[in-house]
Amino acid sequence: MAIVIALPILSFLLVLQSAVFSRIVLLKGTADLVLIALIAWAVQKRVKTAWYWCIIGGLLVSYVSALPLGAVFIGYILAVGFALILRQQVWQVPILAMFIATIVGTILVQMVAYASLRISGTGIPFWQSINLILIPSILINTVLAIPFYALFNDLAKWLYPEVLEV
């Protein structure tokens, strides 16, 4: 059930990101709703399907985006991997893990995208990318991290109810 529900949720978020949030820019940075959703899902304590969600999200965004093939996929894998590692280290304060994972995840995804474009021959100034895209994107994603964490916390509780020991 947790894997099946990933497709409609991530598809909806991708449509929302493409139609609405891509037009809401801070300098040149935008929100990455799919990334925030994957991280919010990965930091949940009882979740065991983070990698499936990562694969589905990566495939969806790779299909829509014009970035070189695999760039988004690799970025999301690195971000979710980091979130899972952080979940084990900062399990007492999951919201802190969410913030840290969002910041680091955004950096990883954007840097992989930048590197893939440079490898494919597209000239993009590095420091301009940092100032105009990366930092604003981190700000926007961090602001959205809180509501996403709350939503996916409820979703995790619904899909993985806590077992009461009698």
């Binding site: 991708l14 829509v64 014009a66 970035l67 930048y114 105009l132």
Partner: protein
């Protein structure tokens, strides 16, 4: 007999008195007397009438308030409905204006066939400049077809599905277009960047380039039709030590407000790869 005459006398007297009073009243001589007599009656009636009105208002007020509130709610709902209708109609007016401008553009350039499409989304990544349109291969769109508006060049189709397509804008960092400058006629290459700026590279040193010169597609390379307006030069950089001049171009199309665009469907980009000489193997 005597009582009859007394009664007649009394009757005549009463008639004369009444007639006299009426004559005096009509003449206005009794006004002070009437005022003194009627004023107390008027005051009492006013007092009673005022108290009655107060009591009546007190009794009927709740019904009036309810009626007024109900009517207020109805009117507020009607206002909301009309405001939504106004917003819809304003949007239709904007779309109609855009479409009429596009029709005018198509009429000016009758040699091309066009398909109109709306922008329904943008690329999720902020590093690339692509828009997603609601037309695809079902509408005879193919990869490489140029996309324009009535203002000028927008980009070209980069990927197509059955009902949607992805358009690479001229502001995309990977975009490279062969252009010519007017009035000098110099050839150059237009490059995009993720900031949305357009830069001209490889302008010959000998070319006379001024701020305000127009930039149009040259048609070289076969990727775009020629003579489509792209933008206007806003600054020029010319150094004697450089191989070529560079310039910054302001695009004519406002990409932040891109809604409806035309795809030129009877222009096929040329593949000049086989014509490009390859270096001989050592």
């Amino acid at each position: 007999m005597k009582s009859t005459s007394i009664s007649s006398f009394q009757l005549i007297f009463v008639i004369l008195v009444i007639g006299g009073l009426i004559a005096l009243a009509l003449g206005g001589y009794l006004a002070p007397v009437i005022r003194v007599v009627l004023d107390p009656f008027v005051s009492v009636q006013t007092w009673i009438s005022t108290r009655y009105q107060t009591i009546q208002d007190y009794i009927t007020a709740p019904q009036d308030i309810i009626r007024l509130r109900t009517r207020n709610l109805e009117l507020e709902a009607e206002v909301s409905r009309l405001q939504s209708e106004i917003i819809d109609l304003k949007q239709q007016i904007v779309e109609t204006r855009i479409l009429s401008a596009l029709v005018e553009f198509a009429r000016i350039h009758p040699e091309y066939r066009y398909v109109a499409a709306s922008a329904i989304g943008q690329d999720p990544s902020p590093f690339v400049k692509y828009v997603i349109i609601n037309r695809g291969s079902d509408d005879d769109l193919r990869r490489g077809m140029p996309v324009v508006t009535q203002q000028g060049l927008v980009g070209r189709i980069a990927a197509v599905t059955s009902s949607a397509a992805r358009v690479q804008l001229i502001t995309d960092p990977a975009s490279s277009i062969n252009v010519k400058l007017e009035p000098s006629g110099a050839q150059a290459v237009l490059l995009g960047s993720f900031t949305g700026d357009l830069s001209l590279e490889m302008i010959p040193q000998s070319a006379s380039v001024q701020i305000g010169d127009l930039v149009l597609t040259s048609g070289l390379g076969g990727n775009f039709p020629g003579d489509i307006l792209v933008g206007q030069i806003t600054s020029v950089r010319r150094r004697e030590t450089d191989l070529s001049q560079t310039a910054v171009v302001q695009p004519v199309v406002d990409f932040s407000k891109l809604q409806i665009m035309l795809i030129i469907t009877n222009f096929r980009p040329l593949d000049i790869g086989p014509l490009v000489p390859t270096p001989a193997a050592p």
